[in-house]
Amino acid sequence: MSDKIKAAIIGPGNIGMDLMYKIKKSKYIELDTVVGIDPNSEGLALARKEGYKTSHEGIKSIIGKKDIKIVFDATGAKPHSVHAPLLKEDGKIAIDLTPAAVGPYVVPVVNLHENFESENINMVTCGGQATIPIVSAINSVANVTYAEIVATISSKSAGPGTRQNIDEFTETTAKALVKVGGADRAKAIIILNPAEPPIMMRNTINTRVENVDKDAITRAVEEMVKRVKEYVPGYKLKVPPIFDGDRVTVIVEVEGAGDYLPKYAGNLDIITSAAVAAADKIAYRLLKK
């Protein structure tokens, strides 16, 4: 396999730029074009400097380019609901990093294998990518009846999109904790902390379980942390499972790779890392076909 699958990024903001640097390290994907809507975009200028094709004419600049097979959408929920049918019609696979959730929620380590054939996958939220693997691990050995997560992120790493749609974060994360994590019921809470220097993203996962097998739960969580670390190197088990009756508490911290966004922005890093990890596996399958 000498060739790589060509990809494009729509949305040259923080997320789009971080994706650009992460795709550089990919084995199976080659970034072709970065698309925006503002000719004066700093992100597009940076992409040009890095040697990629750019366009400020939106999605139409890549529609019809059949060699581009995978498109990362880092715009917003509304634009993505417009982009999704266009990409589908053009035979492109969409990796959706917006809250639009046109396609199924995907957390690579948990359910990517079930969604290889999907033409559109949604990357949930940063909090979802950080906590769903843990809930899924605990659920696999203990049956989680209720999962509750608290994601605390630095104020600096929460852009206007997150701030103006904070309910979307809690609602989407809770839904995916059930759908992908396997909990019967779920709740999500997000807290912004403005401390300087900015704090690392930390996530507390509380679950109520049916079978309190402490050893099995601890092993499952540790194993899962290792698997997430494979695509998010800064993912760390801060507090291993603590037991209180049928309640299990786990705390994980996410330090970013510092590719484009600073290291404290682990919350953004984990969702871009998950997106590239998922796309990489999809590309590998396309190359084998």
Binding site: E148, T152, R163, I166, P194, T204, I242, I251
Partner: protein, 334 residues
């Protein structure tokens, strides 16, 4: 004519922290009815952390938001029913339910530097005809300029009033006065203050706020609330009455609610002890108190060490989960 001060009673919301969120809807209805009869303008109810607060993180409440609101709204004749909404915990969907069951006022509470996470909630409340108040928590952590900037944001979203809140009970009277004065000068809407008693200053700080221009203040029966509690409402009414402020609250009646109805329902005396004092001293969030005590017991350490460390790490409201993290670290360091 005497200056009018609007008083909001938060016994049934902040006071919930002190009873680990275990008031029943019947308790709330009984207390609210008497507060209403005593002439209290606005009554805030629900889980201590507001709509959607019932959780592992903050403690599960004895009943749902809907049950509390329904029970209280059915007994109120004059007072307005108020709910607290902390974006990130509660959502617009929760607010919709609260409004449906009789909430007329919402206080949208954000950390003092993060008002913009409450924009959608303020706008939604205004759209459905509720009174919407912007509530800046942990105001001891920001300087006056920052607080003014954030207050103006809330005003620009359409907030009917702005609160400068001392969630940690860490401010002294001069600190309250300078914050209130600056916000009062910067916005056109009424300004409020919510005090905590961790440093024994809740009544004094509330008075300092009023003298600096505050139009609305909070209190609770017996001072029931997070940490060492809030400004004790019956004391506050007596003080304001003596000073010639008009609150519309009957002094004898509010004393009766506090001593005869609320006191028998309390789980422990509302006092300043070494742990709540540490909260005020460290500038940590008031509701960390009981969570820190539980963690201290579990990990065999001093609750004060946890609370001081929580302050040192600049934790904000809602970060109860950090207590376990800190307690775990402190216990391993031993």
């Amino acid at each position: 004519m005497n200056r009018k001060i609007r008083v909001i009673d938060t016994t049934l919301r902040d006071g919930m922290h002190a009873v680990s969120h275990q008031f029943t809807p019947e308790d709330m209805a009984e207390i609210a009815q008497k507060l209403d009869e005593a002439g209290v303008d606005t009554i805030e109810v629900g889980h201590g952390d507001g709509l959607g607060g019932s959780s592992f993180q903050y403690g599960f409440a004895a009943a749902s938001d809907r049950e509390y609101i329904k029970a209280v709204s059915s007994v109120l004749k004059g007072a307005k029913l108020d709910v607290l909404l902390i974006p990130g915990i509660g959502t617009i969907e929760d607010l919709e339910v609260a409004a449906k069951y009789g909430a007329k006022v919402v206080r949208v509470a954000t950390h003092v530097t993060e008002a913009d996470v409450g924009e959608q909630h303020i706008k939604y409340a205004k759209k459905i005809g509720m009174e919407a108040i912007g509530f800046l928590m942990m105001s001891h952590m920001a300087d006056v300029n920052k607080i003014v900037e954030q207050a103006k944001l809330f005003e620009s979203y359409g907030a009917d009033a702005i609160y400068v809140t001392d969630s940690a009970g860490a401010l002294t009277p001069a600190g309250v006065a300078e914050r209130i004065r600056a916000v009062k000068q910067a916005v056109k809407v009424p300004v409020g203050h919510h005090a905590h008693n961790n440093l024994g200053l809740a009544i004094g700080n509330t008075l300092a706020a009023i003298e600096a221009g505050a139009d609305i203040v909070d209190g609770t029966c017996k001072g029931l609330g997070a940490g060492a509690g809030n400004a004790q409402i019956e004391v506050l009414i007596a003080v304001l009455d003596k000073l010639g402020y008009e609150t519309g609250v009957d002094l004898y009646k509010i004393m009766d609610v506090a001593d005869d109805i609320v006191a028998p329902k309390m789980k422990r005396p509302q006092v300043i002890d070494k742990d709540s004092l540490s909260i005020g001293y460290a500038g940590a969030y008031g509701s960390f108190l009981l969570h820190a005590r539980r963690a201290a017991q579990k990990f065999g350490i001093d609750a004060r060490d946890i609370l001081i460390e929580m302050g040192r790490r600049k934790t904000v409201g809602g970060q109860e989960d950090m207590i376990i993290d800190v307690a775990y670290e402190l216990s391993r360091r031993k």
